[in-house]
Assembly symmetry: C3
């Protein structure tokens, strides 16, 4: 068995959760924060059989991959009129960091 | 050494905590949520010597094992009178999922 | 690669975080509580190359090591005058528990 530890952005967390439930894969979710990003993220702990690892990685990639997104113009709160950008801007969202660790033993009570 | 990762229901968490303290076993607790269950659970990280694994598993089993419990009749909040069940019902509570991972090295500062 | 799981006291958490960022090492932080200590602590998940383990351990030691600190006299809230200590007392603060686990595989999306 393997323990998949996946750190994903909060905005992708529900989507990944639902995708895992659909494939009948149990995950435990922990609220986390990143060292670089100030924004919150979610850490998934997913214990799976060795032959399930690749399909879980595929689900993480499909639902959380780093991607460009157009963001509607918006003045920053409390900012002055000079910082207002009057056209949509492209921003990077999502992204996932995934570690796969060996499991010696698994028990369910 | 081994890292025991035990996911248990919140309602069993304090009892397991106290049982571990009594046996002088240190645990770190993380608030977590499950992919299937909407209700909160607690993830225990327990680093132990190889020869302590079985006694920790025994404590988890004793304090968190899935079991039937009678629940007093209760109408659901905001529900109508039709959904009121006028007799105790048996519900399943507890349960634990436990992963045992190898540890390469341990340090304390 | 290795997964470093470091449990440190909340009061040292920001300092460790900043030290890691400065060395360009990514960490995921989880709010946690300890079995013995009632006070909150922070669990760092740090995935690194094998040759980075020792420098991360050095950072944890430098920023979180258990140490004595003088605490200004203070009467406990709601305590009576008898329990007031009219001189500074030495208390133990900090400390870190660190586990290093093997990683089979690492992916970034
Ligand atoms: Ni395996
Ligand atoms: Ni060992
Ligand atoms: Ni390695």
């Amino acid at each position: 068995m393997k323990m998949i530890i996946a750190v994903v952005q909060d905005k992708d967390s529900n989507r990944l959760s639902e995708a895992l439930v659909k494939e009948n894969i149990r995950a435990t979710k922990l609220a986390s924060t990143g060292g670089f990003l100030k924004s919150g993220n979610t850490t998934f702990l997913i214990g799976v059989r060795d032959d399930q690892v690749d399909s879980v990685l595929k689900l993480v990639k499909e639902n959380c991959q780093s991607r460009k997104q157009m963001m509607a113009p918006m003045s920053s709160m409390g900012g002055n009129a000079d910082s207002y950008v009057p056209y949509p801007v492209e921003v990077e969202v999502g992204g996932a960091t995934v570690f796969i660790l060996p499991i010696d033993r698994f028990e369910q009570f």
